[in-house]
């Protein structure tokens, strides 16, 4: 009873603070967690973005990398204002179009290069249509899209195609769990990131240092991760580990790249999505 009261009070307090229970709790996910009711409206405004270069000097470096494709889907076409969620949704649908070409009719999802590396095609009129449909199904307006609206829109789109959708949160005790996300990526499930403030960059490796050029924004944004990279360094100041996801950013000037989960960003929620 006391426990229920505590939960009830917590919900009430979180509600006051602008948070609500996540609509995406997964069956089997015993942990009750909350996500804020946030409108994601990251727009591709070049004036609201900035650039930054970060250099990581090291004595030695180790990396662990896994990608679901050599060139991931990286569509950026915005059907209307505040449509980052719809664009992210179109990248997600584009990924699964590889396994069922009927998801996006008349669109070639990509091709296998050298018999081993899958490379996704770039956006076209058919992927634009997907983004527009998702924008409508998510009920997006100029204020943006909530996480619940995103999930509902994806489910509605897939249901019409005869597909089912499962979403699983990669949060643990209110924080992002890299190990959970890694597990789902390795199970061929992309991760949808709901973030406040984002970065997307390119990492250049050199013998004694790495250089990461970022495009940054403070906007609430939705991006899709199709791979991960872990860079572990021994530096003069000690050991450092950087965690990245290879994301479709939805940002026109940098449609794909590394998202550093600990750099000028806050992950509000992250969902592994399976479409089957």
């Amino acid at each position: 009873m006391l426990h229920l009261t505590t939960i009830g009070l917590s919900i009430l307090m979180l509600g006051t603070l602008g948070a609500a229970p996540c609509a995406s709790l997964k069956n089997g996910d015993s942990e009750l967690h909350y996500c804020e009711t946030v409108f994601y409206n990251g727009i591709d405004s070049t004036q609201e973005q900035s650039t930054e270069i970060v250099r990581r000097d090291f004595i030695s470096r180790e990396k662990n990398k896994y990608d679901l494709a050599i060139f991931i889907p990286s569509y950026t076409h915005s059907p209307a204002v505040s449509s980052c969620a719809a664009v992210a949704g179109s990248n997600l649908i584009g990924f699964y179009d590889r396994y069922d070409e009927d998801l996006i009719p008349n669109h070639k999802s990509g091709s296998l290069i050298g018999g081993v590396a899958y490379s996704y095609s770039v956006q076209d009129d058919e992927t634009f249509a997907v983004a527009k449909t998702l924008y409508d199904y998510m009920g997006t307006d100029e204020t943006g899209t909530t996480e619940a609206q995103f999930v509902d829109g994806i489910k509605k789109f897939c249901k019409e195609k005869g597909k089912s959708v499962t979403t699983t949160s990669c949060m643990s005790s209110g924080s992002f769990s890299f190990s959970k996300a890694k597990t789902y990526i390795e199970a061929n499930q992309p991760i949808v990131f709901f973030v406040s403030g984002y970065n997307v960059g390119h990492l250049s490796e050199r013998d004694t240092y790495d250089s990461i050029g970022y495009v940054l924004s403070t906007a609430n944004h939705v991006m899709v991760g199709f791979g991960y990279s872990v860079y572990s360094y021994v530096t003069a100041a000690g050991n450092v580990t950087d965690y990245y996801f290879n994301v479709a950013s939805g940002v026109a000037i940098k449609p794909s790249g590394f998202y550093n989960i600990n750099y000028k960003t806050r992950i509000i929620d992250a969902l592994a999505v399976d479409i089957y």
């Binding site: 070049t46 650039t51 050599i70 060139f71 091709s111 590396a117 770039v122 000037i253 940098k254 449609p255």
Partner: protein, 225 residues
């Protein structure tokens, strides 16, 4: 009476002559008040004013002749920007210094213009090779009054003079540990007198040995070449 007036005038002339000779020092030595250098001040003021007027005339002439008022005062507000689908043909018609040879089937082109003046500001291109081994993103400004500021090289760039134009670029080559392919990632800036081509992202699988500069020169050409 006439003699008196004559003497008075003569005294005034003498006094004036003495004053002009030594700036009134003699008169002041005799205890007679006299405003010193009054005439000199007036002359200096006139000379100064003339000099100032001449300087102003020169400065204003230079400013009005050399300062491009018509162009520089044209400011564009982002809330008025309008983006629309476009074509290679239209883009080439609005570029001043370059032309691009691209197959419409492998690229997406967006034109952004100022909704108030109707003037084109920039184009954004996504370029893809048929076999999906090349993805490129281009931001091309075609209006001298629009500045694109979100472009920064993350590595020390290389400057190279090509037959048709010069290019500043960074090149990053890696062998993908998962798939074993060599991939290159590049950024580049090609400046014309008015147009500036920014290659914000360029990822290519190196399958046949050709280089980034080969690819760039195959579809970006300077006007008149």
């Amino acid at each position: 009476m006439n003699v008196k007036r004559y003497l008075k005038n003569q005294a005034k002339q003498d006094r004036q002559a003495i004053m002009e000779e030594d700036n009134g020092e003699t008169l002041r030595a005799l205890g007679i008040e006299y405003p010193a250098k009054k005439k000199s001040y007036r002359r200096a003021w006139i000379a100064g004013a003339a000099s100032l007027a001449a300087s102003l005339a020169v400065v204003l002439t230079c400013v009005f002749t050399l300062y491009p008022f018509g162009e520089q005062t044209e400011k564009y507000l982002e809330e008025n920007f309008v983006t629309e689908d476009s074509t290679v043909e239209r883009m080439n018609s609005e570029l001043h210094d370059f032309s691009l040879t691209l197959d419409e089937d492998v690229c997406e082109i967006y034109r952004t213009y100022d909704g108030v003046s109707g003037k084109a500001l920039y184009y954004q291109l996504s370029v893809n090779r048929y076999d999906n081994s090349l993805h490129g993103e281009f931001f091309i400004t075609c209006n001298a009054n629009y500045q694109y500021t979100n472009f920064t090289f993350s590595l020390s760039p290389i400057f190279e003079t090509l037959p048709q134009y010069s290019i500043t670029y960074q090149l990053d080559s890696t062998v993908d540990p998962q798939y074993g392919f060599e991939t290159i990632s590049c950024m580049a800036e090609i400046k014309g007198e008015t147009d500036i081509i920014y290659i914000t992202q360029y990822d290519e699988l190196i399958l046949d040995g050709h280089t980034f500069l080969d690819s760039v020169q195959s579809f970006i050409h300077a006007r008149g070449n």
